[in-house]
């Protein structure tokens, strides 16, 4: 691979990462979507389907992918004569005080639900991967303008990055306590595969008014659990099987939900999903560094070089610079198990049955993770055509993003049900969208309650 190809690849990945990444897995449209057994992932007390037995087809039961970012591709790039320009000035204009990245992928490896009169039991295995990051405007300003316009004032940049990959084994139970109220819950056993938790990553740079010196401070504190088996060797994961069967990082979580019919037409519900933690032990370590240096250029104070050529020149300043940077990131590693949270969701919802086949709904989702809270609100109309098909459409507000049209549909052909949904259909206009999510899957559905 040539340097040009490597550069293009990195730049492309950067654009994809910056351009279409999502702040949270929304999928609010799933909450009231008719005939959808997967609604129980949002509230274990919600029952939207009538089947007696539902089996998610292994590996196809549900694949969900979410991306979100502060920038859209068109906001930070321009195209001219087959050349894509990443425009630093545009990026600086669009950057907010705090900018975020979010990417999540979940995969239902197994999903079984069984109903018996007023009881429902469920078991599922789900793979979860999450990348969450944020950075402040200063870093964008520094990269786009350079340090000259920022002389005389300290520029503090900070990054926050979280990556977790874990698997959950969930046992669920819900019961219609009466005609009005349904309670549900799940107990989840979590098995962590890898984690990167950047607790602090700060870089401060100050260029003095007359450029006499540049002072750089770097401080970082990271918690890592990265098994050897996942590290790259010859561009391949060392031992993917060992990695995927890692079992030394255990955790627990619960889902709790309640659904209450105020009257036959109006239902109110609330749930909390993924209230839990993972204890990371496998090759878990805390890495920290804290250093600073002041770059002043060459010190000419001891000039005793009469001829100018006789002595060896000063050592390469850029090498000295590199050496100083090494000092900045002089890592201190301590083997240290740690505990991390997982994204926790709280749902508040209200549904109104306009007719037997049509229900209007409002769902508010609050996500809490890594000291951040985010909110999304969906208004939806949900059409359920017998037990064969359902179509849902809605409007979603995701944080400060207001242009999100949600759609979801499920169709049942014999015992096989296919479903597809997104909380932002407009995201198919990839270049102008900063939120994107899609969930699709297939179930086998048998019997009728």
């Amino acid at each position: 691979m040539t340097m040009q190809q490597i550069r293009n690849t990195i730049a492309t990945l950067l654009i994809i990462f910056l351009g279409i990444s999502t702040m949270q897995a929304q999928e609010n449209i799933l909450y009231f979507m008719g005939n959808s057994p997967q609604s129980t992932h949002l509230n274990p007390a919600i029952i939207n389907d009538q089947s007696k037995l539902t089996i998610g087809i292994p590996l196809l039961a549900g694949q969900s992918f979410s991306l979100n970012n502060s920038f859209t591709i068109s906001e930070i790039t321009t195209v001219n004569q087959n050349t894509l320009y990443i425009d630093l000035d545009k990026m600086n204009e669009k950057a907010e005080d705090k900018n975020h990245l979010w990417q999540r992928y979940t995969s239902n490896l197994a999903d079984i639900q069984w109903r018996r009169e007023n009881d429902r039991f469920s078991f599922s295995i789900t793979g979860n991967q999450l990348l969450n990051g944020s950075f402040n405007k200063n870093i964008v300003e520094l990269v786009s303008k350079g340090n000259v316009p920022l002389k005389g004032k300290p520029i503090q940049t900070n990054f926050d990055v979280n990556f977790i990959h874990y698997r959950e084994f969930a046992l669920g139970y819900s019961r219609n306590m009466s005609e009005k109220i349904t309670l549900g819950g799940k107990v989840k056993f979590l098995s962590g595969l890898s984690a990167i938790d950047v607790q602090k990553m700060e870089l401060t740079l100050e260029t003095s008014n007359n450029v006499e010196n540049i002072e750089i401070n770097a401080e970082g504190n990271y918690r890592l659990s990265l098994p050897k088996s996942m590290r790259l060797e010859n561009n391949k994961i060392n031992n993917p099987f060992d990695y995927l069967t890692t079992t030394s990082n255990y955790g627990m979580a619960v889902d709790l939900g309640v659904n209450y019919y105020l009257n036959p037409k109006i239902e109110l519900s609330v749930s909390i999903i993924n209230l839990g933690f993972i204890r990371w032990k496998n090759e878990a370590k805390t890495v920290s560094h804290n250093g600073s240096f002041i770059w002043k250029g060459f010190d000419l104070s001891n000039m005793k070089n009469l001829i100018g050529y006789e002595k060896e020149p000063y050592s390469d300043p850029f090498q000295a610079f590199k050496d100083s940077v090494k000092e900045l990131v002089n890592f201190n590693e301590v083997n240290n198990p740690f505990t991390s949270g997982i994204p926790t969701y709280v749902y508040f919802a209200a549904g109104y049955s306009i007719s037997e086949s049509f229900k209007a709904g409002v769902v508010d989702q609050i996500m809490v993770f890594d000291k951040q809270t985010r909110n999304s609100l969906t208004l939806s109309g949900n059409l359920n055509i017998n037990r064969i098909a359902s179509i849902s459409a809605g409007y979603t507000i995701i944080d400060k993003s207001f242009a999100n049209l949600s759609v979801g549909t499920a169709i049942k052909l014999g015992p096989v049900q296919l479903y597809l949904l997104t909380d932002n259909i407009l995201a198919i206009n990839v270049a102008n969208s900063n939120t994107f999510n899609i969930r699709a899957g297939a179930n086998l559905m048998f019997g009728k309650k």
Partner: protein, 218 residues
């Protein structure tokens, strides 16, 4: 599309239409389809210190006469000389990766000095090959820096300050980029003066700060 009488087929057709609509809607990526190059567009202006230092009286005497550096000052801390030296060159070299200049445009060298010596000064930067001593391009010369202000007795009363910059054009950059070292030559000379004796106080110094500004090319 012919409307099917069977509900299941009607639904399937509706489903297909939705998928088709999604596929047909522009992804907004038309202009991105033929991209073969990716570049970064921006003009961040970067500044970094290049050299700094202070020439004190001890260093100065070393250059005037390396064998008599231990001359004691008088009770007031002054050394006195007749006008024995008209011009004094203080050179030094430092390594420099000239190839870096190939990736920078709109380069300017800046200098700021504080001259507390009763001597005028020139500062010259030569871009050289440190093994063959070959010099690339014309040296960058900063204009005459005035000597410190002296009283009627020839003693320094106030330093002078100088701040200047020299823009380096593309041709010069191409020349300088071949260099692996910079020879900095500080020329100190006696100003025209009627005083027969010149005085240096032990605290008199000449200090300078050189920095470089430019825009990296991506």
């Amino acid at each position: 599309m012919q409307k099917s009488k069977r509900p299941i087929l009607r639904i399937r057709n509706t489903f297909s239409l939705i998928i088709l609509a999604i596929t047909l809607v522009s992804c907004g990526l038309t202009e991105y389809r033929d991209i073969d190059t990716i570049k970064i567009k921006g003009q961040p202006k970067i500044a970094t210190p290049l050299a700094y230092g202070t020439i004190d009286v001890t260093t100065l005497f070393y250059y005037i006469n390396p064998y008599k550096v231990d001359l004691p000052p008088d009770d007031n801390g002054y050394y006195s000389f007749g006008q024995i030296v008209a011009e004094l060159a203080i050179p030094d070299t430092f390594a420099f990766n000239g190839q870096m200049l190939q990736k920078i445009s709109e380069v300017a060298m800046h200098i700021e000095t504080s001259n507390g010596l009763p001597l005028g000064a020139d500062v010259e930067l030569n871009f050289i090959d440190t093994t063959s001593f070959k010099s690339y391009g014309k040296p960058i010369v900063f204009p005459v820096i005035d000597p410190a202000v002296v009283n009627i007795h020839g003693k320094v009363t106030n330093p002078t300050y100088y701040k200047g910059n020299v823009a380096i054009n593309r041709n010069q950059l191409a020349e300088f980029s071949q260099a692996n070292g910079i020879l900095m030559n500080i020329l100190l000379y006696l100003p025209e003066s009627e005083a027969e004796t010149i005085y240096f106080n032990i605290h008199d110094t000449f200090s300078l700060n050189v920095w470089i500004e430019g825009i990296p090319e991506f």
